[in-house]
């Protein structure tokens, strides 16, 4: 009896026995469901959304930017109508027009009996506010405007004149003041809206794996899972990184 060469990777009899016992098939309803999905996808044209894949990310980013900008504008408008929010501290570093600075002259009003104080105030006011006051404030507050623009020699009357109408220029000041918090809110909103894979759009699968591992290591579970789901969509033939809890 001759001894045939044994192929360690194949055995015809094993294969025959395996084939004889392998007749399982998926259920017909499953077949129908999958075929229907395939037909739907094929019938929807090259892309379901009509947008080539390479343009999806830019479109998404543009949409995020537009929404963020809209949010900023809305918040600014809302902030301009509000009088009870004076978060001016964050804007103190930048010079603001005199019309937007109604508060500082008020305390020296008591000391305005001395003529030197108003002069110093005027000088510092001119240093601090090189821009002319807005005509809106001047028009709306005829008494307040002279209090800032005219000489400090009349500081006491100006202070008296300002006190009843000091609130008048406030809306204009607040139109600028809420800008910083609104920007913060908008920035936070845009960061939240930006998916964790935004900077990975055109990166290879290996970069995605590294990011997923980083997120798991940092225990940012939600982001890691979201990134994994997106990874699975984009690279169905690629493997997810193996991550074991330390």
């Amino acid at each position: 009896m001759s001894e045939p060469v044994t192929d360690p990777l194949r055995d015809p009899q094993l294969e025959a026995a395996y084939r004889a016992g392998s007749a399982e098939l998926p259920l017909p309803r499953l077949d129908e469901r999958i075929r229907a999905a395939a037909r739907r996808e094929a019938g929807s044209g090259p892309r379901a959304l009509g947008v080539p894949p390479r343009w999806r990310a830019p479109f998404a980013m543009a949409a995020v930017l537009v929404l963020s900008l809209g949010l900023v504008l809305i918040l600014r408008d809302q902030g301009a109508d509000r009088l009870d929010g004076p978060p001016l501290a964050s804007t103190e570093t930048t010079p603001r027009p005199a019309a937007a600075d109604p508060v500082p002259p008020a305390p020296p009003a008591a000391a305005s009996a001395s003529p030197s104080a108003p002069q110093e105030e005027k000088a510092s006011s001119q240093r601090k506010a090189p821009l002319p006051p807005a005509p809106v404030a001047a028009a709306e507050t005829p008494a307040a405007a002279p209090a800032r623009i005219e000489s400090a020699a009349v500081a006491a009357p100006a202070a008296e004149g300002r006190s009843p109408e000091a609130a008048a220029p406030a809306p204009r000041a607040l139109m600028r003041a809420p800008a910083a918090p609104a920007a913060d809110v908008a920035r936070a909103a845009s960061v939240a809206a930006v998916p964790p894979w935004q900077d990975l759009q055109d990166k290879p699968a290996e970069q995605w794996r590294l990011r997923i591992l980083e997120l798991w290591r940092a225990q940012r579970v939600a982001e890691a899972e979201a990134l994994e789901a997106e990874f699975r969509k984009r690279f169905p033939e690629e493997r997810l990184p193996e991550w074991k809890q330390p």
Partner: protein, 181 residues
């Protein structure tokens, strides 16, 4: 797949008809639960359908398809903490190379069925990685290189797994008196 990518739905039907049984059995034998296998099977094909627009010919279609199936299976195992799947079981002692059995044919259909049942039982007892290598060879007709690519391991690892699987199955069938008189 290229035809389907370009919008030919009938091309998908042909692909599906050719591979549906193999993919289903591959999943079924790996997860050992018909309901889960159906769920995974559907996911695999849905993933394929979704990924059609980005499909580019980088390997045989079957390799790509079974790679998707393998990844889905791994996702499934990862989502079940109680179930651990070891893919590196080459620590077992490889049985000595056995002489190739003579090609004696089973005499009756009953004997064929009995052999098939024994083989499936032996297959189920194999470690997951070895079983997978054998299934990919049998169901998808993949070469060692393609098995390595589909499962994300080196060629040597894939070859080793397949060799162990065949040797163990062969030995098991012999032990049960199926192969030798």
């Amino acid at each position: 797949m290229l035809a389907y990518r370009d919008g030919d739905a009938t091309a998908f039907d042909r692909l599906y008809e050719r591979h549906r049984g193999g993919v289903f059995r591959y999943l079924l034998r790996q997860c050992r639960d018909a309901a889960i296998a159906e769920e995974l099977f559907q996911d695999v094909w849905m993933n394929l359908i979704r990924a059609r627009a980005g499909y580019a010919v980088q390997a045989k279609f079957a390799t790509w398809l079974y790679r998707i199936a393998h990844n889905r299976l791994m996702d499934h195992f990862r989502g079940r903490p109680g179930l651990t799947v070891s893919l590196d079981e080459e620590t077992a002692v490889l049985p000595p190379e056995t002489e190739a059995p003579r090609a004696d044919r089973p005499e009756t259909q009953a004997e064929i069925r009995e052999q098939a049942a024994r083989l499936l039982a032996l297959l189920e007892a194999l470690p997951s990685g070895q079983r997978e290598a054998f299934l990919l060879q049998q169901e998808a007709g993949l070469s060692v290189e393609a098995i390595a690519e589909a499962t994300g391991v080196s060629r040597e690892t894939a070859k080793s797994r397949l060799r162990y699987a065949v040797a163990k199955l062969r030995l098991g069938m012999q032990d049960q008196g199926c192969r030798h008189e």
